[in-house]
Symmetry: C2
Subunit: 436 residues, 2 copies
């Protein structure tokens, strides 16, 4: 490993035609094509390549791909060992590379690209250690784990010493939790039945299929029309019964007063949470909603762009369920910072994973959280959504409503050659065959 250096970083534009079936449709995103900005890190060793992703919904994915190449320039020629041994510092350096920082900082297109690049570095890290990424994290002594994190801007609520204590106090039970989660899988909920563009009949049929497959928890999209939403909620409760978990997701459609008003009507369906009721930037607005609708919780995080925002959501009690996304945050590194703050504030982490690629990445975050950070499964569920598993070499697998713990080394987001040939944009066969 000493002499391996990074030779090139490619950014590839890969898009899946989900808009043809309305998979993925919600109140704000009516016809998305789920897409990946795919980072491929080549080294001087032919059998060591890092694959990382971030997720978008179609147009503009090329902007993220171009930004991946910008960050890539900063890593080419460096030793892999030095990067991995100083990952927190390298993260800080890249995220603070000033001209790209100006375009954020730590948000938007550039931060999405940073996520893809750092996720690819974690993939490489796992391969070098011959472990899946969750296991790399789970096996790190607390001091090593702190070294992959940039504490800049969060030390006023979480010092390194506090973070160390959080990790040290759960160090003892790691082996037992690893065994348990391997045997039982990580609890999950499905979003596959509840996309907004589905007809009522398709909704009923999908709910029945998902229940038959063992799912106990379901998320449905709301926010386009209150009367349609209430009708759909009636159908859903009818189908799933009173005891299964039901979560609502408005995808930022509402103002604060509208959110509170809708939840007064929806309260009788006993939802676990309302997700993204308003602007993802509105910390104080989420706090107002949370106060008004308790004991129903507010869930948000998939568009929460960095640890500074999460810090404030936690400080304000504005988020009862933390839906961080390691592809929106600056990769696994910044996700670990958020896991630690969530542990301090005792907020359960239920990552955003309702699409291809995301499910593959976030399973590592949730499993590592259980083994090494929060040490708890209480109120925790990892989102799952079907689609395009065959495009991945090692897709995430859910059985009986639970993610199976992945064993492939690295992050497991490598695409198959067939998948790349089909979905590369705009030259892939799916995009040139006249379907689009």
């Amino acid at each position: 490993m000493q002499d391996i250096t990074i030779q090139r970083i490619k950014g590839l534009d890969v898009r899946f035609p989900t808009s043809r079936t309305m998979d993925g449709s919600d109140a704000v995103n009516r016809n998305p094509d789920h897409s990946l900005a795919y980072a491929v890190i080549g080294t001087t060793v032919s059998n060591l390549t890092g694959y990382g992703i971030t997720f978008t919904i179609g147009r503009g994915n090329d902007l993220v791909v171009d930004a991946i190449r910008e960050y890539g320039r900063l890593l080419v020629g460096r030793r892999v060992s030095e990067i991995i041994e100083n990952m927190g510092e390298v993260w800080h350096e890249l995220v603070n590379y000033s001209p790209l920082r100006w375009l954020g900082p730590e948000k938007g297109v550039t931060h999405l690209a940073a996520a893809a690049v750092f996720n690819a570095l974690w993939d490489m890290y796992g391969k070098l250690e011959h472990k899946p990424v969750w296991k790399v994290i789970a096996d790190m002594p607390p001091r090593d784990l702190l070294n992959v994190i940039d504490f800049h801007y969060i030390e006023d609520v979480l010092s390194r010493d506090q973070a160390y204590e959080l990790l040290a106090r759960v160090e003892g039970g790691k082996r037992d939790r690893e065994e348990w989660i391997k045997a039982h899988g990580y609890p999950s909920y499905t979003t596959s039945a509840g996309w907004l563009g589905f007809s009522d009949d398709k909704l009923r049929q999908l709910l029945r299929e998902k229940m038959a497959l063992g799912w106990q928890s379901f998320k449905i999209k709301v926010g386009a029309s209150a009367s349609d939403d209430i009708r759909r909620l009636e159908i859903i409760r009818e189908e799933v019964g009173p005891d299964r978990n039901l979560m609502l997701d408005a995808n930022q459609a509402w103002d604060v007063p509208t959110a509170i008003e809708f939840m007064r009507q929806a309260n009788r369906f006993s939802p676990v949470w309302i997700e993204e009721p308003t602007s993802p930037d509105d910390i104080l607005g989420h706090a107002k909603i949370a106060q008004a609708i308790a004991p129903v919780g507010v869930a948000t995080g998939e568009h929460c762009h960095n640890r500074v925002m999460f810090k404030q959501f936690f400080e304000q009690g504005a988020m009862q369920y933390c839906q961080l996304d390691a592809c929106r945050l600056g990769g696994i590194n910044e996700s670990l910072a958020v896991l630690l703050m969530a542990a301090k504030y005792q907020v359960p982490v239920c990552p955003h994973a309702g699409a291809l690629g995301l499910r593959e990445v976030q399973q590592h975050v949730s499993i590592a959280d259980y083994i090494a950070v929060s040490a708890s499964l209480e109120d925790r569920m990892l989102e799952y959504a079907d689609g395009f598993q065959e495009a991945f070499v090692s897709p995430a697998v859910a059985v009986n409503g639970a993610y199976q713990v992945p064993s492939v080394h690295g992050l497991g987001v490598e695409l198959t050659d067939v998948g790349l040939q089909a979905y590369s944009y705009p030259e892939g066969s799916e995009w040139t065959s006249g379907n689009s």
Copy 2:
């Protein structure tokens, strides 16, 4: 005007080699090349072209240019009159175009691009009305002004009715204030002397030059080294004396505790404000700093990415000086929303204008604020920085420490042919002549 339609929107990459002289250097941005992502809207009428900009500091400017083209696609073929008559709705539509929204929302590369596009539409608007943009705004009846604003996500603190009242109560004095500001200019401060990369001798020399030109207010960059900062502050107070205004700008270099600690040391230099003490996303952190260092104020806003963030800064008392930037926000439209909230919370607006292009745009915001929104100059100063005036057809002009009210129709950010030939990137003569 009825039949004029938009034919094409070009995005151009224009970069100025400011890093060669260390103009623009600060604690976070050590060697920026001040750059413009330049939007040019062509219509079916040969003498009507809209020019808009946003500002970056070099690498990655091309990402914003590409995003301008993405938004441009959504406007081509539309009637100019329909866009201008429904500008608030068109703004909402473009900013919420879902695949690009996913890359923000309303932040980062895509929102910078939206700013350039809407600023170009305002340029066109002014040209059609034969007025500079500040005058277009100043002459709007309150109801018309509200129609260019998207109130989504801010109505919990500012309803349309409240906004109407704010505008209506100052309607009477508009003509007098217009006459006054034309006669006296808009008060300004200069950042040109205080860049971090300058030597002590250059700092002294520039301060003397600026005082000789009539400047009464000076901003200096801090944040790289506390001991250097204190030494420079001693020099500055020695040069400018006890009565002239001195502002400090840390460009986000610090954590919250570091900011408070530094300001304890800097207090004896009686600064008006500390600008960007920490992460621009840290509303609660800024509030903590503001509480600790009062009566010195906290100034921030140049990286505050949308009206939802400003809303919370105002709610928390976290910002005593509002430094909005109409090129970071989604153009003039969103800036007007922020001006109204600032008026409600009685926070003075001192826009971010310390660079080429920015000074040309923000003068319209400040002058319109004085005439039609806040109706006050108290604690208000508009930033000014020299550089590359000759590249603009109608550069902003400061005389005796005050911006002269511009009279050219539109926004006044059109570049000269010579300027474009020199600074277009990478093909301009300044970039191909071996200087770079």
